[in-house]
Symmetry: D2
Subunit: 368 residues, 4 copies
Amino acid sequence: MPDEKKKYTTIHYHSYLQLDKITGAQKLRSAELEDQPAHEEMLFIIIHQAYELWFKQIIHELNSVVVMFKDDWVDERNLGTAVGRLDRVSEILRLLIQQIHVLETMTPLDFLDFRNYLFPASGFQSLQFRIIELILGLKEDNRMTYSGHSYKVVFTEEQKEQLGNIEEGGSLLELIESWLERTPFLELKNFKFLEEYQKAVHRMLDKEKQAIMDSAYLTDKEKEMRSKMLGGTDTYFKAVLDEDAHNKMRAEGKISLSYKATIAALLINLYREQPILNMPYNLLMSLKSIDELMTTWRYRHAQMVMRMIGNKIGTGGSSGHGYLAATAEKHKVFKDLNHIASLLIPRSELPELPDELKKELGFYFSQK
Amino acid sequence: MPDEKKKYTTIHYHSYLQLDKITGAQKLRSAELEDQPAHEEMLFIIIHQAYELWFKQIIHELNSVVVMFKDDWVDERNLGTAVGRLDRVSEILRLLIQQIHVLETMTPLDFLDFRNYLFPASGFQSLQFRIIELILGLKEDNRMTYSGHSYKVVFTEEQKEQLGNIEEGGSLLELIESWLERTPFLELKNFKFLEEYQKAVHRMLDKEKQAIMDSAYLTDKEKEMRSKMLGGTDTYFKAVLDEDAHNKMRAEGKISLSYKATIAALLINLYREQPILNMPYNLLMSLKSIDELMTTWRYRHAQMVMRMIGNKIGTGGSSGHGYLAATAEKHKVFKDLNHIASLLIPRSELPELPDELKKELGFYFSQK
Amino acid sequence: MPDEKKKYTTIHYHSYLQLDKITGAQKLRSAELEDQPAHEEMLFIIIHQAYELWFKQIIHELNSVVVMFKDDWVDERNLGTAVGRLDRVSEILRLLIQQIHVLETMTPLDFLDFRNYLFPASGFQSLQFRIIELILGLKEDNRMTYSGHSYKVVFTEEQKEQLGNIEEGGSLLELIESWLERTPFLELKNFKFLEEYQKAVHRMLDKEKQAIMDSAYLTDKEKEMRSKMLGGTDTYFKAVLDEDAHNKMRAEGKISLSYKATIAALLINLYREQPILNMPYNLLMSLKSIDELMTTWRYRHAQMVMRMIGNKIGTGGSSGHGYLAATAEKHKVFKDLNHIASLLIPRSELPELPDELKKELGFYFSQK
Amino acid sequence: MPDEKKKYTTIHYHSYLQLDKITGAQKLRSAELEDQPAHEEMLFIIIHQAYELWFKQIIHELNSVVVMFKDDWVDERNLGTAVGRLDRVSEILRLLIQQIHVLETMTPLDFLDFRNYLFPASGFQSLQFRIIELILGLKEDNRMTYSGHSYKVVFTEEQKEQLGNIEEGGSLLELIESWLERTPFLELKNFKFLEEYQKAVHRMLDKEKQAIMDSAYLTDKEKEMRSKMLGGTDTYFKAVLDEDAHNKMRAEGKISLSYKATIAALLINLYREQPILNMPYNLLMSLKSIDELMTTWRYRHAQMVMRMIGNKIGTGGSSGHGYLAATAEKHKVFKDLNHIASLLIPRSELPELPDELKKELGFYFSQK
């Protein structure tokens, strides 16, 4: 229980930030095991500690967003805050990518001065990094295996239990999917979005086919190629909009989001200028951004490992560069949101929303 | 012939920079082909023009370095300048990577407003980008094909001729390889680097095997695993140092640099603190840096294409994201320099250079 | 008039981007005036041309936002687009700041190789940069003079006319001020924002005074100091909220925004989570961000000039570093928005909005 | 004494990095003093802890460079290492500047949720930051006062003692000055650098005066202005090269480096392509870079404080923005190195070094 009088106690920078702990946590293995500590080992320790501080911050932000989405209904006044916190996570990830530049000031020869003393410690054992992946929604089935084993094999029993609890808790991916599925605008005031959208797609494709054929400027060969490309696009729209085809790909693990959630995401992307869809659109953009930055970080990290140890085995006995580069693509969580881009049609072809519906999607004040 | 008196003419910013040309070169297709120009098309044009300006600068720097290395002997006083210019290329590449953030402010829906008018223009048709790849040393055999065709198929006859001349000119990769092969320090004053190095590797591996076996702290299982890893490393050193094995891999296209050049690069890496090897070391680092940044740029560009068009075909009819992501790895030019990292041994194990040799590698002034 | 059939003509990268103009616009003065061109002059030309390309883009974005705000009423569906374009301007400014790193690869000694040939060309003669300042809203009265002269003295008659037209057109600062003044929420449904806010400020200050006095943890000296600081803050709130005091400072040129606009900006900052105030809040943040980045760019540019020429006169005969560093602070356009930060009170002290008012500020759909 | 057998113990990531300490050091004041912790306070704590981790790393690097320069003679093989470590400090400072972006995701209204609980803690109490300033060489006389008091007033007795010891230890500025003064090349083999340099300056200025007068392209008014500028430059060279004038400015606190050190720095800048001067040149560049980045960090920090609290008093009772902005310029340590830029003359005017001297400045191996 807060104590009003306590609010006016004083606090000093050094104790507030517990700097005795923070700056007293660097113990070089090379100092223990050699006559002369390896100068470069300090950087190795500090940079990983900085990463872990920021992982804690990321978890703090992601958890707070998960809480906002746990219920059946998300307060609109929270959506802006959720977007702000996810954007902060993106800003932190940009910092963590830049941080790799600092580690690149260590040369491979320098690393060899203390590398042997680190075995078998390795970034694979970062509990917080795995927690971040779990909160985002990376499923074990979608992971690269760790020399054939589950990623959990490197953790203690206590840590495995912690990971297990988070897995059950409900990830951002699952909660966002539920939230998307709950969107009320797919059928409103006699406007059936999906039907109208499909009609618009057909109108657009027919118009383009005709214009290609009528063109006075293309050669026959070019006309043939362009029609073929259009055909390809046509097939793509059909296959993806077909609920059965969608569910089939979902069963095969190629798609994560449910059909309903996908159509909702499409609506939000197409009509994002409608006031009530504006913040939902920003939310989807923020999730995509986090995914891309995690991917970039994994890739740059893989590059740095390649530079540092070439083709040798990594400190934890892993395959080093190859593994890390593969996770860059495979461990994407929100990749379905990128595929929405393939389903967009130009604004000029979008079905116009009836006035009655626009009113529903606008601000109360403005409707008078 | 310069005119002394002309040196004191005046010049104005606008005409010096030919801004009529620069700022008068933006002609929107959507303005020609629609009633209303697409606002976003300006950004698309400007950003690609900015890329091409910087490509011209990169070519200017790389060409000047090629000139320095064309002879049988590189002036030492030029080495520092060469490194400075290559580092400038790296700094420009960092800028070009950041530039992708600006294009990411365009949403996929916005891009659809004018995308159809661009066909079949595409980044594949950037002549300057191909020139950069050629000057660095990317061989046609090592390229991803362009839907089965040579990359040259998108250029005019005149442009193909220009590319052909540059291919014959001699790339940075070839010139650096020759320069490395010419290094005089591999056998100097009775010190045979390769022999001494191999002895040091064996000494090191034997010592480690023994320490693992004697360890009071490892379990038998851990001892077995660590010996096995050591064995793997052992084999690696042998395979790579064997000239026949090296040439075999080179014939298979897995390695670019000759055996002699590789050993020279290893020497430079190991003894870079010797004054005369300092700038050669920095040169190799600069080349690695350019390679990594080109790779990162390709990867981020692929990510952005994925975000912008999902799985649709790219503007030039190419496979878009997939192709670009693959070139990130495949089109590396100086990857052999990364493999040197696998051949390094700790400083504490390095053969000590005899004083007579250190004198040769130092400054004249300091030897007195 | 668009021609349907023309839409399917083809276009090639090189001609679409008019690369003959772009890459054919580099003419080195040192090549004209010396036997040997100065290698470094190419970078100098290219980097300034890149700046001018991006200045054109910034003007394109700012102009489009000015157009949105020119009327008596801004369409809500445009607000999000306006914010997106202003954020793009910020992203471009970040790129332009990073671009300075590239110019820093040129050493002072290298610059001396061609610097004398540039006289009197100088960045002061960048028309586009002045246009940007004018569109944002920098008034001539608030400018540093150019060795005692108006900044227009370096332009041709035609350019001066262009600048004059833009000055009359209406800047972003003026249009945003009008838009803020038009906000309807200052008095709505019996809720008088300013009255309620002032009551809340007094409540808050009284509560804090009492807590300081009652504190069991502060020494008398600390209590005295904290009360004094509170007193200072108290006076500050009063002075700024007083309409007469505000107008007096405005007449003295210390404040730009009108009293009404300032109060509106305060409301928007305090109640930004209300849906209809969310995008207006983001708009103010975007303007602040542009101001800060322009300031940072000016400062970093000044630093670079200092590094490049020390205390010598700049290429245009100006005082170089000193002038540039001073404009960093003096040429801020939206600094009033920063002062709003001094007027904020903690959320816990904010007057709660009556339900009837919250309904007005929310989405139509959600009110049912 | 190291234990050979201990080298093969194992270590785990979590304990190696002491993550219990690192991630267990975040204790929110708002959690103690309120019912509900302020979400944003976690970021505030984490970001400052990350800063302090990196400050520790910077101190580690700077101290190791101080050690290299403490003797009467610096081993050439160390110079490259020293430059590498100073460049690493620059890379870390770039990261710390970018880190400010993360704190900018906190809005002023959010900060108010917990700001009152921080009093009087403030960044002024960062011991490590003061240590960095001392090691670089910031003298107390050159500091901005802290509301009229010494900066040490905010520290404990123990901390003040620690600062005192470092002040006596010898800063980088002092050690670099001594090292510069020891340079043997100012008079070597009958080549007196300063004399030759002064002759070259006069030759250059006379030649330029004549060319201006003879110019067929300048108006009389332009000739007058250009001669006047040349006169200004002329006076500048004289004043700075005059030992008495230099010492007078040094006594007034306007210059830090001794006359002899300044001339040595000039020599190094002018003849940096000579092999033995190459690394000394890079060293001076690295110091300038650190100075500029510290300045940029201070400036961006000041901007952020302005954004966060407007004109209110900072958390420690200081004047906030104004103080911080002033230290950006005033607390520069190596500004004299920037002034060297004013003393450079074009390469084409440099006195050619006699062959005998070039031999001394080159590599031993190459002289044969």
